[in-house]
């Protein structure tokens, strides 16, 4: 049973269509990213999945239950880290976690140890009794994440989780996400603009645009599907540049440019032709010190998708 199942979901805000026939499934234990510009439908999706919005049509199931009909049961298993830290400035860090542990019906005996452990894990133990109003943005974000984890959710939504975090805290969050998914089998849904982060963390990604699903797959699949050609750089003797260029341009449809002294770049080469290029250089007597194919990144795929989407709109 998938953790989340969306089947032909449609949602509108007045005359504006926020989600258009969205269908996707998020499997248990995977890290899944929802990518898209502002207004693409990411937050709407999270709200629908948690029963905060009722879709106009379509089916939504979370662990096999409807978030609207069984909202309390569904939300007991989910947690949402909202984009901005939505903490009450007048509560202390410890009070915040305790209050939400109670609201999530965490057994009383577990609350104290869990709160203490989370405060320590996120580096706020020494500020446990301080009011949140005095915290930096990064500390607030860490406390928000601790709050989201206080009931040990099975399904965690992270909306722009690293916005405002320093590199150390960002790394810590990435480790937490990996640990939750890999070691504890939890499902994590990441809503982000940070494509590098999504590529590094996600098992699969869905690219949304204008409320529609533009693409779905692993980051590598997506990148290959959208941009099937590679770039290849190779390093040779600068004195043999001319020979190397002549050999490569003799191959059909390939262009080569000098990147810097001794390094040449071949653009838009089909994956299956990379061995041919290497072979041609070697048999042509060109000293080949290094040859490196560059896989298209999720960022390349994302912008290609958004470009196609805009073009077709």
């Amino acid at each position: 049973m998938p953790a989340i199942l969306l089947d032909h979901v449609l949602h509108r805000y007045g005359d504006t269509t926020a989600l258009r026939d969205l269908s996707l499934a998020v499997e248990e234990g995977e890290v899944f990213s929802l990518l898209g510009h502002n207004g693409a439908g990411k937050t709407t999706t999270v709200r629908i999945v948690n029963g905060l919005l009722a879709p106009v049509s379509g089916t939504v199931l979370v662990f096999g239950r409807s978030p609207l009909a069984d909202g309390a049961i569904v939300r007991r298993r989910t947690a949402v880290l909202t984009e901005s830290p939505t903490l009450d400035d007048r509560l202390t860090a410890s009070e915040t976690l305790r209050a939400f542990a109670e609201m999530y019906d965490v057994p009383r005996v577990d609350i104290g140890p869990r709160v203490t452990a989370l405060l320590a894990e996120f580096g706020i133990a020494d500020r446990a009794k301080d009011r949140v109003g005095g915290f930096s943005r990064g500390m607030k974000q860490r406390l928000s994440l601790a709050r989201a984890l206080v009931h040990d959710p099975d399904l965690l939504f992270l909306d722009e989780p690293t916005a405002g975090l320093d590199p150390v805290a960002t790394q810590q969050l990435h480790d937490t996400v990996r640990e939750m998914a890999r070691a504890r089998g939890r499902t994590v849904v990441l809503c982000t603009h940070n494509l590098v982060e999504a590529q590094a963390l996600s098992d699969r990604v869905a690219v949304l645009g204008g409320g529609e699903l533009l693409a779905l797959g692993t980051p590598a699949e997506l990148a290959r599907r959208i941009t099937p050609r590679l770039e290849v750089t190779f390093e040779t003797d600068p004195a043999r540049h001319g020979d190397a260029v002549a050999l490569i341009t003799a191959l059909d449809g390939l262009t080569v440019a000098a990147e810097r002294s001794g390094v040449l770049r071949i653009s838009g080469i089909p994956r299956e032709r990379v061995p041919d290029v290497a072979s041609r250089l070697v048999t042509g007597g060109i000293p080949l010190y290094r040859l490196e194919p560059h896989e298209p990144s999720l960022t390349d795929a994302y912008f290609a998708l958004q470009h196609v989407s805009k073009g077709s709109a």
Partner: protein, 268 residues
């Protein structure tokens, strides 16, 4: 309904209110003024402005007949009884109303303004649990302050009036009905009004301005009392209380139908 979740939200909301100077100031000043300062000053008023004794006598002569029949001719003792059992009595209802009103404004509109409502909507609390938690967080302190304030009021009146009355004369039955029956009703009215307003507006300031309009029935009662148009007796207090309870219940019933996550999230 999950009482533990409700209790957690109530505790959180009350803690947040307690730590807000902006909220606590009116919550302290109004009860102190109405429950401590007013009874003290008004008990001693004839002595403080002794020269105005004739004015008071004149005022008594102009009171409606039923009130004159009830209180008789002007004496200092009559003054004390009229002031405390009739004129100032409805003012006491402002306390539960305002306390509930202010806390409810913070709990609904304030929480939305601070953007702390969204995490609450993501908790397992059902719409009904959220609704009742927010109601209780405003209603319980309003009623507690009203009861506590009424007790202090009664002590102050009896102590300050002792040299004149020479007995514990206060509270009378009407006032007791007002405290135990009408005060909780006005607290319910205050928060019901604020709830309805908060469902429509986004900000705390807007909510307090519009929600404050629901104080008009209390003001009308005070003016009616002072002008002698409404002479409160136990039966009338019970009936007015019943009416206020009915209005509050109707507003709350209307509010609970509108209090839906799916509606609230649209205002975030």
């Amino acid at each position: 309904m999950n009482q533990r979740i409700i209790a957690a939200i109530v505790r959180k909301d009350l803690r947040v209110v307690r730590r807000s100077r902006a909220l606590m100031t009116p919550l302290i000043v109004l009860p102190v003024l109405l429950m401590i300062v007013f009874p003290t000053v008004f008990t001693f008023l004839p002595r403080i402005i002794g020269g105005a004794r004739t004015t008071f006598s004149e005022m008594f002569r102009n009171l409606p007949d039923p009130m004159k029949q009830q209180f008789g001719e002007f004496t200092e003792a009559t003054w004390i009884r009229v002031v405390h059992t009739q004129m100032l009595a409805p003012l006491m209802l402002l306390v539960p109303f305002m306390v509930a009103n202010v806390i409810a404004a913070d709990g609904f509109a304030g929480e939305r303004e601070r953007k702390t409502l969204e995490p609450l909507l993501y908790t397992p609390a059902t719409d009904a649990e959220l609704f009742f938690a927010k109601l209780l967080a405003a209603w319980i302190p309003a009623v507690m302050i009203a009861f506590g304030g009424a007790f202090i009021y009664a002590v102050i009146v009896n102590v300050t009036a002792w040299p004149v009355m020479h007995r514990v004369f206060f509270p009378d039955l009407t006032w007791t009905v007002m405290v135990l029956w009408m005060a909780p009703a006005f607290a319910a009215l205050g928060l019901a009004g604020m709830l309805l307003v908060s469902l429509r507006v986004r900000g705390m300031q807007e909510a307090t301005q519009l929600g404050g309009l629901f104080v008009l029935p209390v003001i009308a009662l005070v003016v009616g009392e002072v002008r002698g148009a409404v002479l409160l007796g136990p039966l009338r207090a019970i009936l007015i209380g019943l009416l206020v309870w009915a209005i509050a219940a109707a507003l709350l019933a209307f509010g609970i139908r509108r209090f839906r996550r799916t509606t609230l999230v649209g205002k975030l």
